[in-house]
Symmetry: C2
């Protein structure tokens, strides 16, 4: 599976959140496309580039309840009617995700809260676009108040983000475990001492030793869900 | 009351809908600001300009479920936190409206329809912004398939649009009548023979003669609702 992360941020070098996420993406096999200060050769090239990917993720900070304008500029230019519309859509069946960060707390995004609408309500235009293109929509990954997170929360976010960009969906226990196995294979030395992995396993309610046994089972052709 | 219409359209000269609406705005006492090919002197100037108005309307065609990117670019640049945020907002109490046109039919914008979401759901980011700024949100004026409308529908749209940009809200019978009286005063010669006025009165279920009597009543200090 090949993932493209389309990033809209006018000042990405000074964004702690974006730099943190980019760091997380580094060891995963994904491509990134930073839209600001970026000019593409031709609409056709850009379109055929997109066709190569199985998962396309829009990643941005929330600026007045949508992405910074560079994302819409790119959409207006690249997403021609012929490219994404109806049964001719070149994006049919691909997965679509959003990674959105905001300095506001989660509780604001509710009826009666400071912002009054949920993140999902605010993201509607992107969901409608993905739906029109025949893409499969993944649950949006929301990052609230990155600057306020504990070290542990940051580490959990890192794993959640890495899973978001490369794990098979839906986000079932089985797919989570499969993802960990892949990570295990690739980073066997770091696995035992990885704080984020431990945290995530704790959240999943799985002991590391159990996971190792499960991994053995799966490798031997067993079913981890039994 | 002073209205500003902020228009986002990359090819406004060739848009029948926008040219038609601009024609309708011409005889109303409103200002327009076309964002494409437009560069403003300074953020501060632009902000103090906005403060002069009582009603601010975003007008645009639906491009992939939001305005063309020029509107977001302008919002990102002009709507600074200090300008629109919280109790310090300079826009508190002002009215906010949207005039959005689309080539798709109305039936598409529903669960199970071609676009799957209502126009109101799609407009959420703008409503959230207006809400955050403490503005009062008017019901969005939606223009579906302008090219497909009959002459009569065009004329009704013209009056609806003119009312939208200058009539007092909420859109009660009383406020409608008051608006007609103002138009009557200003365009007394055209009033009797105006097709759009006749159409609208018919839709309101009011005879022109009745309206004239009502106008007389109101002018003499009577109450049109009794």
């Amino acid at each position: 599976m090949k993932t493209l992360i389309v990033i809209s941020h006018p000042d990405i070098e000074n964004s702690n959140t974006q730099q943190f996420l980019l760091q997380g993406a580094k060891h995963q096999n994904v491509d990134t496309l930073h839209l600001d200060n970026y000019s593409f050769n031709s609409q056709a090239n850009q379109q055929s580039d997109l066709e190569k990917y199985d998962r396309i993720i829009f990643q941005f900070p929330l600026y007045w309840y949508s992405a910074p304008y560079s994302l819409k500029k790119w959409i207006d230019e690249v997403f021609t009617r012929g490219f994404v519309y109806g049964s001719e859509s070149k994006l049919i069946g691909k997965e679509f995700g959003i990674v959105v960060s905001t300095g506001m707390p989660e509780k604001n995004f509710a009826v009666g809260g400071g912002d009054g609408y949920s993140i999902d309500q605010i993201m509607t235009p992107y969901y409608a676009l993905a739906r029109r293109a025949g893409m499969q929509i993944l649950p949006t990954l929301k990052v609230f108040q990155f600057y306020n997170m504990s070290e542990r929360e940051h580490m959990n976010l890192l794993v959640d983000y890495q899973r978001y960009i490369t794990q098979k969906y839906p986000d079932t226990l089985e797919n989570k475990i499969e993802w960990f196995i892949n990570q295990f294979d690739e980073q066997v030395d770091e696995f035992d001492n990885s704080e984020p992995v431990k945290n995530l396993l704790e959240d999943l309610g799985i002991e590391l030793d159990t996971l190792k046994l499960t991994v053995e089972d799966i490798k031997n052709g067993g079913d981890s869900n039994e």
